[in-house]
Amino acid sequence: MDVELRGITKRFGPVVANDGINLQIRAGEVLGLLGENGAGKSTMMNILSGLYAPDTGDILINGKKVVFEDPGDGIAAGIGMVHQHFMLVPVFTVAENVILGVEPTGRFDYLDLKTARKQVRDINDRYGLEVDPDALIETLPVGIQQRVEILKVLFRSADVIILDEPTAVLTPQEVEDFFDIVRSLRDAGKAIVFITHKLHEILEISDRISVLRHGRITGEGDPAKLTTETLAEMMVGRPVSFTVDKSPPHPGRPMLSVSDLCLFDAHDDFALDHVNFEVHSGEVVGIAGVQGNGQTELVETITGLTRPASGMIRFDDENVTRASVRDRHRMGMAHIPEDRLRSGMISNFTVAENMVLNSYYAPAYSKGPEIDWPKVQATAAQYCVDFDVRTPSVFLPAGNLSGGNQQKMVVARELERETKLVVASQPTRGLDVGSIEYIHERLIAARDEGDGVLIVSSELDEIMGLSDRILVMFEGRIVAEFDTTKGPIDRNAVGLAMAGASS
């Protein structure tokens, strides 16, 4: 089935999310759709799946114009979407999840699970998905859950499959397996739309690439003739440097040392299992690992948000195992939280208020029991200039800023003071290329000033680009260590360690 978008325009108030977009999706082909956050990818796909109606423009299926009036029309026409966030019922089996909403029923509305299981197994075999129809969703790893989402789309006999940032949650090895599935779907004649902002992935899997910027198609081409540099330039609108410029590290004394740290999760399993490591001043230590292997817990324990079950944390030669968040902050520990909207900032607070969120009590910002707001505002304005936070005013609610500017605001708050240790968790998740570059430079600058820097990221490229030493976490343990200063390291070996292969 071929689908064509012709002159699609969609406005949200003054914002033009899609501006005269022309796009062709062909059967038996993988179309890579590249664009930064806010470039209009999601809007376009929501139009294609019938969630939004375009202001102008047409959707043509096999050359015939169609109008989608509600979200059901897209899937009825054979267009299915696999969302970035899975929509599965954890306590249902795979087969139950797949048939949810389109259950095969017998007489008196009898739920025909037998037929359902057989149909699921058939699809499974045809595309080599290798999913057990009777497994409970909550027992399956993320990579398999994603296949269940694909099963759902196939079960509804979709011919066009839209994959929205599908690799964000996968290990490098899982990505390879996933690409095999995508290829087998393509070879079976499905049209695939692969949405991502990861350049090397799009070059590997796509048959054709379209680049979206500010709601317009800014580039199209054949992946064989494109490089990551040209793609990045199309995506951002200017040349981008990919390597982080940094001099060799000069590690000094241990700034953070973690010994035998243990923590239990809600099921009394090890969330952290005897973790030992050190971060020296003047070095960047990166913690690689697939999300959910104890990184969040590790960061929360180091920063004082969670008390460990056992073990010790020393910061700048002091035992801080039982010190509060505020104490550690005062001693010079900076924390860039993994989820800025949830825990790094308050959307309804102004930029100025957010800038002093963890230092408002300090004598510098207060007059007795009062906060010295004029002083806070002046300082915040200065921070915004120093860290390139683009906001018309510090009185604007932080929620109105773009993601990149919000993150720069958080980074400014944490780094614009005397720091000794920087703990940065997913410091550039979901940001545009320009902001990523900027934040990376700042983290390296902190290292060069003699701070210890601990970076936790699920983006292996980020870890490999920034770290002087790489630790790999798997199931709450540090399972491997790589030293990047002694020559290049094998990306594959890191990937294997992330997947739990013992080295």
Binding site: F12, G13, H329, S343, I346, E370, W373
Partner: protein, 383 residues
């Protein structure tokens, strides 16, 4: 209590608070919606009267009485202010709690016990000069209110018990506790068999402000207390360090925790401040109007104050205006009953309708599409 129940209450309370109390909405939701809400409520109130066989002339008469009884004369204004004082005081406490993310339903109980304490301090310390006596009585009310509210705060901080449930339970306990106290020999009025306290001596009373014009004008010095409390709560919320922590915790508990704020301390401090204001409301009622405590002397002020705080969008000035409106409705309602013979319950219905419409701004915008900028479509389009 199960975790999921807590989460459900949290989600429900948050939805309500988001609709009605967060600070930075535009002019439309802050001013235009409430005005239209009052209009719709009055129209619906008229329809309800029609449906209960009240003729048009009486309906007209009753609304004239409503206006007359609330702002139509000096005595009407005095009544409006008198009714508004405890509503505003308790409403301020609730608003402060809402800002800190605490959905405190317990103002009624805090108010009752605070009022009780003020009465006891009043008659037990008889003989003191008023400059000492009155402040002590007021302080006793605030202190007991604060202590009673901190029980719920402590329960939440220490055990995670949800404040909605614990404050409701504490309300029920306070009703019985008050009955019990009122029958104790050293509190109960001599020679009475029913539960009623001794009277407060003059030196502990909030003096009437206008009795030199007419001894029947009841507005009392609690008015200044109310205005001072408005300024005080404004200062706490928007100027002080602790208020910053209150607001941060209320807006985003995770971010507040990540920023090193101490959530247990904040919960207890916010509940205690809210309770102190509710206790002060009770104290001003007994010291300014009632002269003594009786069972249920609060007449539901603690519950009406929830509506006042929500309508005032948890902003001190909003609470002041909402409290004055509710005071006017109450004073006017009494006049309605006298002049037109319409039931006072109708006023409760109109108050309830106002709250419903304020909580549902989209409904108001649908009824009065011409009253609003037509940008709702554009805004609603984006997810």
């Amino acid at each position: 209590m199960s975790k999921t129940l807590n989460d459900k209450i949290d989600a429900a309370a948050e939805t309500l608070l988001n609709r009605t109390s967060r600070g930075r909405e535009d002019f439309e939701t802050l001013v235009v919606v409430p005005i239209f809400a009052v209009i719709v409520a009055l129209i619906l109130g008229a329809l309800i009267m029609l449906a209960t066989n009240v003729d048009l002339a009486t309906i007209g008469k009753s609304y004239v009485a409503l206006a007359h009884g609330s702002v139509g004369s000096l005595s009407a204004i005095s009544e409006t202010l008198t009714a508004a004082i405890p509503l505003v005081l308790a409403g301020l406490g609730l608003a402060l709690g809402f800002r800190a993310g605490l959905f405190n339903i317990g103002a009624e109980g805090q108010l009752l016990l605070g009022g009780m304490a003020a009465v006891v301090a009043g008659f037990m310390l008889d003989g003191l000069p008023w400059v000492v006596h009155l402040p002590i009585a007021l302080l006793a009310g605030a202190l007991v209110g604060a202590l009673y509210a901190s029980i719920a705060g402590w329960l939440k901080a220490a055990t995670g018990a949800h404040e909605v449930i614990s404050t409701i339970m504490l309300n029920l306990i306070s009703f019985r506790l008050l009955d019990y106290f009122l029958r104790q020999p050293f509190i109960q009025k001599e020679g009475r068999a029913d539960p009623i306290s001794k009277s407060v001596p003059d030196s502990a009373e909030l003096p009437r402000l206008l009795d030199w014009i007419d001894p029947n004008l009841r507005v009392h010095a609690g008015l200044f207390l109310m205005l001072a409390a408005v300024a005080f709560v404004y200062w706490i919320l928007f100027r002080s360090k602790i208020g910053f922590a209150f607001r941060a915790s209320g807006e985003n508990l995770h971010a507040a925790r990540y920023a090193g704020m101490h959530s247990s301390f904040i919960i207890i401090a916010a509940m205690a401040t809210a309770g102190a204001l509710a206790g002060l409301a009770g104290a001003s009622q007994v010291l300014g109007v009632l002269d003594r405590a009786t069972p249920g002397f609060s007449a539901g002020i603690g519950f009406d104050a929830i509506a006042v705080a929500l309508m005032g969008r948890s902003h001190p000035l909003g609470v002041l205006l909402a409290g004055l409106l509710f005071g006017a409705l109450e004073a006017g309602g009494r006049q309605m009953q006298v002049d037109a013979g319409v039931s006072i319950d109708l006023i409760s219905i109109i108050q309830a309708l106002i709250i419903v419409f304020i909580a549902a701004p989209l409904l108001v915008k649908a009824i009065f599409p011409w009253g609003f900028r037509s940008d709702s479509q554009a805004k609603g389009g984006a997810k």
